[in-house]
C-alpha cells in the first residue's frame, strides 16, 4: 500500500538547515496497523506529513497504492488527499462553527456528493463511532474523546485507503485514549490500513507493528503482539 525509498527532508531554520529525515526506507501492506514512535524531534511527524501529502520530500520516492506521489501541484494533492487519505489530528481540527454531522460530511462536500447523500453517509459514520445522538452538537459541546471520535468519523467518511493519525491520543486522558484506540482497532479489524504517530509505549503496543525513529533514521522496525484496548477497560 505504501512504498517509501530513501526519503530525505530538511528544513531551513534561518541560516542553518535542519536535516530531519535522513533516508527513510519503509513499506506498509494493506490492512496493517503501524505505530511510528520516536522522541520529539526524531522526524516522525514530518514523515507522517509527507505520507499525508501535506508536505513534500526533498528526495526519494513515495508510492501510494502503486501511484507515484511526486511533483504534485496543489490541485492534484488535494484530490489525492480527498480520495486516498483520512487524517486524525492531536488537536482534532474540527471546524468549530459546524456541528458534528456537518464536520463529518465535509470531505464528502469536496467529493461533490449531494447534500442528502452526504448527510446519510455522515450519519452512518457517526453511528459507527457511537455519536449518532450528538450529530447536531457543535464541537465545543463535546468532550475531548467525543471530538476525536467525530474526527475519526470524518476521516472515515471519504472512505480512504489509509488512515493517518498524528498523536491521536495526545490530548486525551488514559481511559479516553483506550476508548479511541479500541475504535481504531475495530476499524483496522475491518481491513483499513492505519498509521499512528505516537510517543506513548502503551498506545504503540496496541498496534501490530512498531517503527522506531531516531534522528531521522529508522532504528527499529518489527511486529509486536497486539494488546487489545478493551482488555484495559
Amino acid at each position: 500500500m505504501i512504498e517509501i525509498k530513501d526519503l530525505h527532508k530538511s528544513y531551513q531554520m534561518g541560516s542553518n538547515s535542519l536535516h530531519v529525515l535522513k533516508g527513510i526506507n519503509f513499506s506498509v501492506k494493506e490492512g496493517e496497523l503501524v505505530a511510528i514512535m520516536g522522541s520529539s524531534g526524531s522526524g516522525k511527524s514530518t514523515l507522517l506529513n509527507i505520507l499525508g501529502m501535506l508536505d513534500e520530500a526533498d528526495s526519494g520516492s513515495y508510492f501510494l497504492d502503486n501511484l507515484p506521489i511526486k511533483n504534485l501541484n496543489e490541485k492534484i494533492a488535494a484530490r489525492y488527499r480527498n480520495k486516498f487519505l483520512g487524517f486524525i489530528f492531536q488537536s482534532f481540527n474540527l471546524i468549530n462553527y459546524k456541528n458534528a454531522l456537518d464536520n463529518v460530511a465535509m470531505p464528502l462536500y469536496y467529493q461533490g456528493i449531494k447534500r442528502k447523500e452526504r448527510t446519510d453517509k455522515a450519519l452512518h459514520y457517526l453511528e459507527k463511532v457511537g455519536l449518532a445522538d450528538w450529530a447536531t452538537h457543535l464541537p465545543n459541546e463535546l468532550s475531548g474523546g467525543q471530538k476525536q471520535r467525530v474526527a475519526i468519523a470524518r476521516a472515515l467518511a471519504s472512505e480512504p485507503k489509509v488512515l493517518l493519525a498524528d498523536e491521536p491520543t495526545g490530548a486525551l486522558d488514559t481511559k479516553t485514549s483506550y476508548e479511541v484506540l479500541e475504535l481504531i482497532q475495530g476499524i483496522n479489524d475491518e481491513g483499513k490500513t492505519i498509521l499512528i504517530v505516537t510517543h506513548e509505549e502503551d498506545i504503540a503496543h496496541m498496534t501490530k507493528r512498531i517503527v522506531n525513529l531516531k534522528d531521522g533514521i529508522i532504528i527499529n522496525d518489527g511486529t509486536v503482539k497486539q494488546v487489545r484496548a478493551n482488555s484495559y477497560v
Binding site: 488535494a78 488527499r81 487524517f87
Partner: protein, 415 residues
C-alpha cells in the same frame, strides 16, 4: 456561481458568523449610503441655484462698439466705427429663429426736453418695439412705439414716468400732447415705468428711424440689444447665446474690417455669462461632492479588504483543515470570494435603498433657496454599487488567493 451546494455552504458560514458578516456589511452599506446622500444634496443644490436663475430668465445680449485696438488691412488701430441699420437688418434676417426680441438703439445723451414752461435734460433712445420687452418696461398709459411708427418715421414719443412727473404738473394727461426734444416737437403716445429703477425712467423713447433722421445720425446706430428665445434647459440656453454672440461678432468684424484678433472693438454684454459663472460654481461643488463620495467608496473598499484579510487570518486554520480533507485551492478562493461578493452586494443595495428612501422622504421637506428636490441618478447609484462589489471582490481576492496558497501543514500547526 450557481452551484446550490456552494450557496448552502455560504449561508451556513454566514449564519454561524453573524457579527463578522454584519460588520463587513455595515462598512459597505454606510459607504454607499453616504455617497447617495452626497450626490443627492449636490443635485439638490444644482436644482436650487438653477431655479434662482431661471426665475429671472434674463437672457439679454448687448452689443456696442469701441475704437479698434489692432491694425488690420492697412487701417490704423484706434479707429472709430459705427454699426448701421444694415447690420441690424442682416442679423435679423440671419438669426430669426433664435431671436425673441430685438432692437437697435440710437442714443442721444443729455437732450433738452421741454413742455410748456417745464424742461430738463434727459436721454433719448431711438429704438424698436422689442425694446419694451428687453428692458422690461410696462405701460402706465397709452402705447409703446410700434413697427408702423418705425416704417413711417413718426415723430411720436413714449416717455418714462419720471419725465412725465417732471414735465406734466398738476396731473395733466400727457397723451396726445406735444413735447419738444431738442426743440423738435414730438407727440406723446405713452408713459412707461421700468422695474430697473428711476434712472431707467429718466428717458424718452422714439422710433429709431425717426431719431436717425431728426437728429442727423444717418444710418448709424449706437448699439444692438437682443433677447433669445427660451430653451428647454439652461445649458442649451448658454450654448445658444454663445453661438449667437460668436456669429454676430464675426459678422460685424468682417463687415467693418476689424482684425479677428481684436478683442476690444466690439463690446458684448451677455447676462447668461453671469449665470454661467454660478453654473461653474455648482459644477465645482458637485465635483467636490463626487470626490468626497469616491473617497468614501475607496474607504469602503479598503475597509472591506481589511475585513477580508482579518477573516482569512481568522480562518487560516479552518482553511488548513478544509485543504487537509481535500478542498481544492480554487474552491477555497471561490468560497471566500463568493461570500465577500454576496455580503457586499446585499449590504451595498441595502445602503442604496436606505439612501434613496431618505432622499425620497426628507427631500421634499427641504425648502431653502439653494437646495431643492435633492435626488440622485439611479443609474449612477447602481453603477457605484457594482463598482464597490467588483472592487470588494478584487480586494478580497488577494487574501483569498494567499489563503489558498497556505500549506495545510502550516495552517494546522497554527494553534
Amino acid at each position: 456561481m450557481f452551484n446550490i451546494e456552494r450557496w448552502q455552504e455560504i449561508f451556513d458560514t454566514i449564519r454561524k458568523n453573524k457579527l463578522r458578516t454584519f460588520l463587513t456589511g455595515l462598512s459597505v452599506a454606510s459607504g454607499i449610503f453616504i455617497l447617495v446622500i452626497l450626490l443627492g444634496v449636490g443635485q439638490g443644490m444644482q436644482n436650487g441655484i438653477s431655479q434662482e436663475f431661471e426665475g429671472d430668465a434674463s437672457n439679454s445680449i448687448w452689443v456696442w462698439t469701441r475704437p479698434t485696438s489692432v491694425e488690420y488691412k492697412g487701417l490704423n488701430p484706434g479707429r472709430f466705427f459705427s454699426m448701421t441699420n444694415e447690420d441690424f437688418d442682416f442679423i435679423h434676417k440671419t438669426n430669426e429663429e433664435v431671436i425673441e426680441y430685438e432692437s437697435s438703439r440710437v442714443r442721444i445723451w443729455g437732450a433738452v426736453i421741454s413742455y410748456k414752461k417745464e424742461s430738463g435734460n434727459y436721454r433719448i433712445e431711438g429704438i424698436h418695439p422689442g425694446f419694451q420687452f428687453i428692458e422690461n418696461q410696462s405701460m402706465v398709459s397709452g402705447r409703446f412705439i410700434n413697427q408702423q411708427d418705425i416704417n413711417e418715421k413718426n415723430k411720436i414719443v413714449a416717455i418714462g414716468n419720471k419725465v412725465k412727473e417732471a414735465l406734466f404738473k398738476n396731473d395733466e394727461d400727457p397723451l396726445g400732447k406735444y413735447i419738444r426734444l431738442n426743440d423738435i416737437p414730438f407727440k406723446v403716445v405713452g408713459v412707461y415705468t421700468d422695474k430697473g429703477g428711476e434712472r431707467e425712467e429718466e428717458q424718452v423713447s422714439v422710433p429709431s428711424t425717426t431719431a436717425q433722421q431728426v437728429f442727423n445720425r444717418g444710418q448709424t446706430i449706437s448699439n444692438l440689444s437682443y433677447t433669445l428665445k427660451p430653451e428647454k434647459d439652461f445649458e442649451t440656453a448658454v450654448a445658444k447665446s454663445e453661438e449667437f454672440v460668436a456669429t454676430i461678432t464675426s459678422y460685424l468684424k468682417n463687415k467693418h474690417i476689424i482684425a479677428p484678433t481684436d478683442e476690444r472693438a466690439i463690446g458684448i454684454g451677455n447676462s447668461l455669462e453671469q449665470a454661467k459663472r454660478f453654473y461653474n460654481l455648482i459644477f465645482m461643488i458637485k465635483a467636490f461632492f463626487w470626490w468626497v463620495g469616491v473617497c468614501t467608496i475607496i474607504a469602503g473598499v479598503v475597509g472591506v479588504s481589511n475585513i477580508m484579510l482579518i477573516i482569512v487570518k481568522e480562518r487560516t486554520k479552518e482553511i488548513g483543515i478544509r485543504k487537509a480533507i481535500g478542498a481544492l485551492p480554487s474552491s477555497i478562493i471561490g468560497m471566500i470570494l463568493h461570500e465577500a461578493i454576496f455580503v457586499t452586494a446585499i449590504a451595498g443595495f441595502t445602503g442604496l435603498i436606505f439612501g434613496l428612501i431618505l432622499l425620497e422622504v426628507v427631500g421634499p421637506m427641504i425648502e431653502t433657496d439653494f437646495i431643492s428636490s435633492p435626488s440622485v441618478n439611479f443609474n449612477v447609484a447602481i453603477t457605484t454599487v457594482f463598482i464597490l462589489i467588483i472592487a470588494g471582490a478584487i480586494a478580497g481576492f488577494f487574501p483569498a488567493w494567499r489563503a489558498a496558497k497556505i500549506k495545510p501543514i502550516v495552517a494546522l500547526r497554527d494553534e
